[in-house]
Each structure stands twice: as structure tokens, then as C-alpha cells.
């Protein structure tokens, strides 16, 4: 549709000419007779007018170049006198001019006053002052009120996003009903900062929704916990304190988790991330905590630890073979070494991320095999403890408790009926509490499978059950399952190995 053809004029930016052309055409295309033609004409007319407006800036200052718009209040002089033929007004007794009260429109720009109050006495006093002004403005002329609204919007827009005095915006919103006119507020008032206040209002509304959700959330799910962390103001100490509270595994994947949460926030609660959350807090939580150098350090120390453990193992085996130490005798230095190695491994797992967890736990699992050669309650107790600690930081307290429970259950019921058996745990316990060690004759090799095979099967089933119980469904937590299963698998292997060895030992006199 050619706009100018519809109007039957050549392209122009003369508003008056466009209106005249439209008026002429309207006589030919009557809306009652030809609604479709009229609609085309109307669209053309509106487009033509809009094309003039495009170049123009909205008249932000209200009056055409008037320096002090607030002074243009209705005065008796400004009021249009009725022209003679309209002057018969039988319903009025007294002329209105006398009843205009100049007093209600302030002589000083109220925004200047308001900003002074804000600077000197703070947000609370400014909000009260604004409320008063809004109440008074109810009786001002509509133009004066419109200019006031505009200047107020401009003043509020001049604040940086996170410093915006929110109670003032709220008071303004109540007075001028901005939230229900978000689109038009942006369009009418804000010139280049089109939409800023509107977005700000929307962001605050979103924040209110979030807070309501968090308040009503009784179970404290992980997502809500993360949202609370994001809403914290940026304060290094507070954030560090919060971080330490996080379970190790959450730390392991926190950066990713927070990143995906931040994306979701952008969608579900528009504007919140931009205006209501401190970007430094966001940065703190979404950055990956590790640095490349410490990764290498860690790798180095793990390798060192593994090598040391193997060397120690070989040395002890060799020493036994050579008859330097006899079976059953536990040199204190060997125990100390083992405990030291285990402590080192355990504490390193405390400090790191996912990969460290795996390294640390691997080390610990490997260390369980040699334990058989250097049995002893202290070592085993330490191992139990470290296993517990490792699982706590790797997953969370709940799972660690499960681990200990199963360990105890297995150990108390040591032997062919493990729940999930951690036989050594039982020994450690007995030693710690000086319970009598229950020794029972090792079953003959023939009954290996009844003694080992079936329990192994049972173990598998229970492992699967435990695995199912400790699984975590959320994205990014698949590794928890991996860790838990890793532990269980190595335990299982260790147990099978021990059992087998025991059988073999039995079989060989």
C-alpha cells in the first residue's frame, strides 16, 4: 500500500498538508460506506504522520523551551476568557477566576527540593516528602502534574541501577500507576533511556516473587539455596563463609550449577539479574575456583602419594619375605607411615575438586589392599574415618552417614552375611572399644563360592540398591553417582580379594 497514493499527495513532512489531504479523501471514502477502503486510508494517514514524528525527539522538557516549566500553573491571567458569545453562563454565580487557588502549585521545582531532601536526610525522608507531594498534586492542573511525572522519572533514571532508591520508585509507581503502563511509561517519558524504569519496575516485581518463593519454601531445595546465595550482597567474608558451608561436591560443580541457574533466572524472572543482583556476587559464584597451577601441584602430590604407598607396600612385603618383620607384628613406624599416607590422601581430597576427589578416593581404595598386610586397629580406624570424611566432602553428610551405617552393620555382622561389608571397620571398632575379636575358622576352599560367591551376588544387589538410594538426579551430579559407585566397587574388589586370599591361605597349610 502506497501511503502517498492513498492520500493523493506527494510525499511531504508538512503535517497540515497531510491532514488536509486525509480530510479531502475522507469525503470520498466514507467509513460507513466503504469500511475497508476507509481502513486503508486511515493506515496511510497514520503512517504519514508517524513518518514525520520519527525524526523528532520527544519533548522531554514539557514546555516548548520554557526554562522553568513548573511556573506555568493556571493563573487568572492565563485562563482563557470566554468570548462574548459564549459568556452567558447561567449556571455559575461567581466567576471562576476568583476561585483559582495559586497556592497549591509549588513555586520551587519540587524535584530539586526532593533531591535535596534525599541527599541530606536519606531515602526515608525523601519518600515521605514524595508521598506528600503526590497527595498535593491531585489538585494541580493536569499539565503541571504531567511535567512533574516526567521530571520525577528523569531524576529516578539518573541513579545507577543498584543504587536506585526503591521506596521512591514505589511511591512514584503508586502515585502514577507506572507498573500497569510499563510499555507506555517507557515510550512517553524516558527518551533515550526508554524502558529503563519500566524494566526496573519489572525487575523489582520479579525479585518480590523470588523472595516470596524462598520464604514459602520449607524444604530448602538446592536450587533455592543457590538462589539465596546469589541474592547476597557482595562481601568477601560472608561469601567465603557461605562457600565453606557448601558440601564438597556442591563446590565441585558449583560454578556450572550457578551458571545454569543464572540463565534460568534471566528467563523466569526478567530483569532480576541485571538490576537486583550484585554482579560481583554473580561473578564470585560462577567462576571456576581452581587455578591451573594448583591443579598441577595436586596432580604431583597424588602421584607422589601413590608411588610412596606402592613403595611402602613393596618394602613391607619384601621385609616380611626377608624375615625382617614377622607376620602379625606391626612395627610402629609402619603404622605411622600408613596412617600418615592415609591422612595425606584424605586431606588432599578435602581441598579439591571433582578430579581430586577421584584421585583421593582411588588412593584410599588402593591403600585398603595393603592394609591386609599391616592390619591394626589404628590404621583401620583411621581408614574408616577418612572414608567417612571423604564421602562427606564428596557428596554430603547424609550419604556419609549411610556409608558408616553400612560399614558398621557389615562389620558387626562380619562374615558371610554382609549388608555392605566393611570387615576391617568391624575389626577397628572392636579394637577401639576393646571388644573381643571374633575369630571363626576360615571356611574351606570348597565352600568358597557359598561363602563368597553368594554373598558377592547379594553385595551386588545391595550395591545396586545403595546406588539407587544415593543417586542424585540433577544435572551435574552424575559424578556423585560415579564417586559412590567407585567407592563401593573398590570396596567390593577389596573384599573379594581378601576373601579369596583367606581361602587360599586356608587351602595352603
Amino acid at each position: 500500500m502506497n501511503v502517498w497514493w492513498e492520500l493523493r499527495i506527494s510525499p511531504t513532512s508538512d503535517r497540515r498538508a497531510i491532514k488536509r489531504a486525509y480530510a479531502l479523501r475522507l469525503k470520498e471514502v466514507h467509513p460507513e460506506d466503504d469500511p475497508e477502503g476507509f481502513q486503508r486510508l486511515r493506515e496511510a494517514y497514520e503512517s504519514a504522520l508517524a513518518s514525520i514524528d520519527e525524526g523528532a525527539e520527544p519533548d522531554v522538557n514539557g514546555e516548548h523551551g520554557d526554562q522553568d516549566p513548573m511556573h506555568s500553573s493556571p493563573t487568572p491571567d492565563d485562563v482563557r476568557e470566554d468570548e462574548p458569545r459564549k459568556s452567558t453562563v447561567p449556571f455559575l454565580v461567581r466567576p471562576f477566576a476568583q476561585r483559582f487557588d495559586r497556592g497549591d502549585v509549588p513555586s520551587v521545582d519540587p524535584i530539586i527540593e526532593l533531591s535535596e531532601v534525599y541527599a541530606k536526610r536519606g531515602e526515608g525522608a525523601a519518600t515521605d516528602a514524595l508521598h506528600e507531594l503526590l497527595t498535593k498534586s491531585a489538585t494541580w492542573g493536569l499539565d503541571a502534574r504531567h511535567r512533574f511525572e516526567l521530571k520525577l522519572a528523569e531524576w529516578l533514571v539518573s541513579f545507577a541501577p543498584l543504587e536506585l532508591p526503591w521506596s521512591l520508585v514505589q511511591a512514584a509507581d503508586e502515585g502514577f500507576d507506572w507498573s500497569s503502563r510499563l510499555r507506555s511509561v517507557a515510550h512517553e517519558h524516558l527518551g533515550r533511556d526508554r524502558g529503563y524504569l519500566a524494566e526496573r519496575l519489572q525487575a523489582r516485581a520479579s525479585l518480590a516473587r523470588i523472595r516470596r518463593e524462598l520464604r514459602s519454601d520449607g524444604t530448602s531445595s538446592k536450587r533455592h539455596h543457590m538462589m539465596r546465595l546469589l541474592l547476597l550482597p557482595f562481601d568477601g567474608e560472608t561469601l567465603d563463609a557461605e562457600r565453606v558451608k557448601l558440601s564438597f561436591w556442591a563446590q565441585a560443580t558449583w560454578a556450572e550449577g550457578f551458571r545454569s541457574l543464572v540463565d534460568e533466572l534471566d528467563h523466569d524472572y526478567p530483569g532480576v539479574r541485571l538490576y537486583e543482583i550484585d554482579p560481583r556476587t554473580v561473578e564470585y559464584w560462577t567462576r571456576d575456583p581452581e587455578k591451573k597451577e594448583s591443579e598441577d601441584l595436586w596432580r604431583g602430590s597424588v602421584i607422589l602419594g601413590v608411588v610412596a604407598a606402592l613403595v611402602l607396600m613393596l618394602a613391607l612385603t619384601g621385609a616380611r619375605r626377608l624375615g625382617l618383620i614377622s607376620n602379625g607384628v606391626r612395627p610402629w613406624w609402619a603404622e605411622a607411615l600408613w596412617v600418615g599416607a592415609l591422612i595425606a590422601a584424605g586431606s588432599l581430597t578435602l581441598l579439591g575438586q571433582r578430579r581430586r576427589t577421584l584421585y583421593g578416593l582411588t588412593l584410599m581404595s588402593l591403600s585398603w589392599a595393603p592394609i591386609e598386610m599391616v592390619p591394626g586397629p589404628i590404621v583401620e580406624g583411621t581408614r574408616l574415618l577418612l572414608g567417612f570424611v571423604a564421602l562427606t566432602v564428596a557428596t554430603d553428610f547424609k550419604r556419609a552417614v549411610l556409608y558408616v551405617f553400612f560399614g558398621f552393620a557389615g562389620s558387626v555382622n562380619r562374615g558371610p552375611f554382609p549388608l555392605i561389608a566393611f570387615p576391617w571397620a568391624g575389626e577397628a571398632l572392636r579394637a577401639l572399644f576393646r571388644l573381643p575379636v571374633r575369630t571363626e575358622p576360615e571356611p574351606p576352599a570348597a565352600r568358597f563360592w557359598t561363602k563368597v560367591g553368594i554373598p558377592a551376588l547379594v553385595w551386588c544387589v545391595l550395591l545396586a540398591v545403595l546406588f539407587y538410594v544415593v543417586r542424585d538426579k540433577a544435572d551435574g551430579e552424575v559424578r556423585v553417582r560415579a564417586t559412590a559407585s567407585w567407592i563401593m566397587i573398590t570396596e567390593f574388589i577389596g573384599w573379594v580379594a581378601r576373601r579369596y586370599r583367606a581361602q587360599r591361605k586356608q587351602a595352603q597349610p
Partner: protein, 583 residues
Amino acid sequence: MRHPIPNRQTNGTIPALMIIGIDLGTTNSLASVFRDGRAEIIPNVHGEALTPSVVGLDDNGELLVGRAARDRLVTHPELTAAAFKRYMGTPRQLRLGDKLFRAEELSALVLKSLRADAEVFLGEPIGEAIITVPAYFSDAQRKATRIAGELAGLKVERLLNEPTAAALAYGLQERGADHTFFVFDLGGGTFDVSLLELFDHVMEVRASAGNNFLGGEDFVHRIMDGFVHHHDKRELLDDPALRGLLYASATRAMHELTSKERATVSIPYRGTRLDWQIDDLTFHELTEPLLQKLRAPMERALRDAKVRASELDDVVLVGGASRMRIVRELVARLLGRIPSSHIDPDKTIALGAAVQAGLKSRDAALKDVVMTDVCPYTLGTSVVRRDKHGRHSEGHYLPIIERNSTVPVSRVERLCTAYDDQQSVLVDVFQGESRLAADNIRLGELKLAVPPKPRGEVSIDVRFTYDINGILEVETTLVGTKDARRLLIEDNPGVLSREEIEARFKALADLKIHPRERDENRGLMARAERLYEEHLGEVRQAISERIQGFQEVLDTQDNEAVAAFRGGFAEWLERIETDPFLA
């Protein structure tokens, strides 16, 4: 696009039946006609311009319309109904004795009476009328007004918005000049503002806003509440008779306050009188919240039209309630000028309706003038929004026709299915400005069957057409086919269906209307009875005697004697009514 109003060929001749204009108001109604190049008011059979919009049932079971009925509001409140314009577009029924009436039927009775009076005045049959409605009337309310016209035997092809009518009445004097009007229309039950521009004989509405539940009646109710509070007697409002008396007195006080500083509300109560004197200031305090409500639509109209108050050329006050001094002051203060009301505010709208009647019948005197109006509220539908994670949220409002679009207007939006294998699409129709569909007013819905396919692959075109009378038509088409469904918003409980209209038309025709010839006597008697209720002591005694005398004369059935007595009686009652010492 098929349009319901057929194309008309104009050949300059005036159609066979005359078109009149009718202002169907909450408190009063008027009829008007355009002839000899000007608009004039058609007086009713009593010679008055205003016919009260009141319908009553007299003791014989016959219907009364107008002043006679209004007087009976005081004496027989359970047999009389007033201010039923407020119930147009709702299924609410009002009780008159043992009969129930819908608002359309009561309005139809008023329209019938106006039509009959017009036919007598003009000496020719009337077939069509232009009826005015508040600019802010909803679709259901407009349809109900049309139906009322149909029930009265009038063809109502065109509805006219009241502020536009007012502008037409004023604008006709401003030929040749460019003029921006602001019309402030505060009627008995509704409040409308419109901003209009007149240029080159084109009268264009730029913006409209209003409040359908704010009018002069609310101001009267405030006075009534104040009175009850002042005397601390809640039972005044519970007793229909006392309430009727209080209403009448409060209305009178309000009228007095337009020209005097003080007014008294006074009713007889248990053998004595309860009085309350109010002045301007008290009235202002009582009605403060109502005055506050007047401001918002005014601001919005200015904002939507992007016009500043200082740029207006004229501010026009229309509607009886705009006579109130506090209202005029408020308008003057807010807009920074003295408003015009040199045309009687009660008659402005009717005169404008006559102008439109003239325009419609292509009266030669108006051949240059064209008028366009706007749709005062946004119309849209509810949609489902889907995000990148695949989550969806329902209930978002998608505007299809923005408010203050010039009518007639037709807009179409293409939507697609939101879920896989949807069997049908529900298009519901809303009116309002909120971003959540549920916060807007629901007008109706339309279902269209669609082939089951993955979401997003089935598209429908939804077209909203808002015609020149403000009636909305919705059409949905399945893209790629000719399969279309049209909505007539029939399931709106406020609007009667075709069969119901037929049935009610018959029912109304069967009702006995009080014969016009005896109407004057009946009216006089009703007035006398009302004054009897309102006064005490000696005056009451005197009225009672006169009533008796009138009854005796009526029984003689001697028309001349009756006429003679009637003249003197009417004068005497008039004196009683207006005597300040007896008020």
C-alpha cells in the same frame, strides 16, 4: 472481508422513514431531530424536553413511563424502577410488582414512549433511531442497547458515543476552523471523556476514556449516606419508602447546590422532620473520593492523544451532573481553563444525536462533515508463551486492537498451536489493558478444530473486527484452508439471543401501557401523592383535600371539568413544590 453493514448507494434522497436521535440516559432521556439545517429537541407529550428514565406499574397493572413513574418512586418504590441503564448488558432483572423485567425491556419501554411522542410531534412515522451510548460501554452493553431499540420497534443501525455526540453539537458551530475539544461527560450513571479534533469538516475522536460506574447518582448516594450518618439512623436506607423520600430530597439538594451556597436535605420521619443543611464545603468533603476518580480518565485521554491540556481549544461539559459547582471547579483546575457549557448540558448529547441522524440520512446541510470515532479499550486474546527450555506459561494477553484505534478497524494476528496433537484451539476474547489475560474482562470465546500435528505446525489467523458501532466480531481461520469460524459472542449471559429477543418482543407487545390521553391526569395524581408523602401537618392536610377533589372530578368523566381542575391543581402543586419555606 465481509462486513455486516451493507454498502449503501447515496443518491441524495432522504429515506422514507425519518431517523431521530435519542439520548437514552440513566436519569433522563431525550429525542431529537435534524431538520431545516439544525438540530432540535423533540418535546414529549407534556411539552418537556426531558423524559425521566423511570418505568412504573400503576395500581391497575398498567405501565407508566416518565415523570408519572418517577413521582411514584417515592410513593410506590417496589412498583417502580429507575437507573436501569446500569444493568444493561447484565442478566439482572428488576422487579415491578409481580413482574420481572430486564434492563433492555425497561429501556425499550422508555424508547417506545419517546418514539410515540416524536411521531406525534413530527406528524410522521419513525422507523429508525440513532441511540447514544457511553463511549466506554462494553460490547454486551452496546448490544443490549440495540436490542432495546429492536424491542421498541426501532431500527438501530448506528450507535453513537455520547462525548462524540456532544462534540458534534458544539462542533457544528465551528465550521472552517481547526479546533481541539475536550468533552467531559458526567451523566447520571456514567462518566466519559473524549478528546476530539475538528479540522476541515472532519471530526476525529483522538482518544476516549471513562468509568462506567461513576455518575451523578453516586453523588446523590453520598449525600444520602452523609444524612444517615449525621442523624445516625441506618434504617432510613433499609426502608424503601424512606429511602425513596431521602433520594428525592438529596437529588433536589444537589441541584440547589449548583446555584446556591447552601441546601437542605429534609424528610418526614415518624410525624416529624429530619433536616440536614449542607454547604459547598461539606459537599466537597463528602464527594472527595468521587472527584478523585474523575481525574484518572482525563489524564489518560490526554496522554493517549498526546495532547497537553494547554493545547486544547475548548473544554465542553456535558451531562446533568456536570452542572455541579465542585465538578466544574475541578475540571477548570485540572485543565487550566473555564469550561464551556453554553448549550444546556442536559440537551447536548441529544442534539448531537440529531446531527448524526442528519449525517446518516445525508442531509444536504451536513454534506461536508465526516465523523470518525475510536475504540476506547484494547481488545485481545490470551496466548501461551514458550521459552527456550520448553517450559510454557499460559494466560498472557496479546492485544490485537489497541485502544483508541479509529473505527471501523480490523486486525489480524497469526497464532500457532502450543501443544503437540492439539485437537482444537480455544480463542478467547478479552477487553482491557492488563498484561495478564485473567485481569481483563472476558467477552466470549471461539473454538476451532485443528488437525493433530506437532506444536507450532498448525497456524490460525485470528481477526478482530470492530465496526463503527463498537460491535466486535471475531473470525478465526485455519491457515491454508477456508475453514473459518465466526464469533458472535453469544454465550455472553448479559446479551439476549435471537429467540429470546423474539419472545420478549411479543411479551412486551402484550403488556398494557397506560393510555397516553390519561397520562397527564395520572402524572398529576402521582405528583400530588408524592408531595403528600413529603409534607406534614397542615400542608399535608391541604394536599389530601385537593387529591380528593381531583378524584371526584375524574369520576365525573367530564373532560372539560377535569381539564379546568387540572390546570389550577397543577399550579397549586407547583407552588407547594418550589416554596422554600416548605422544602
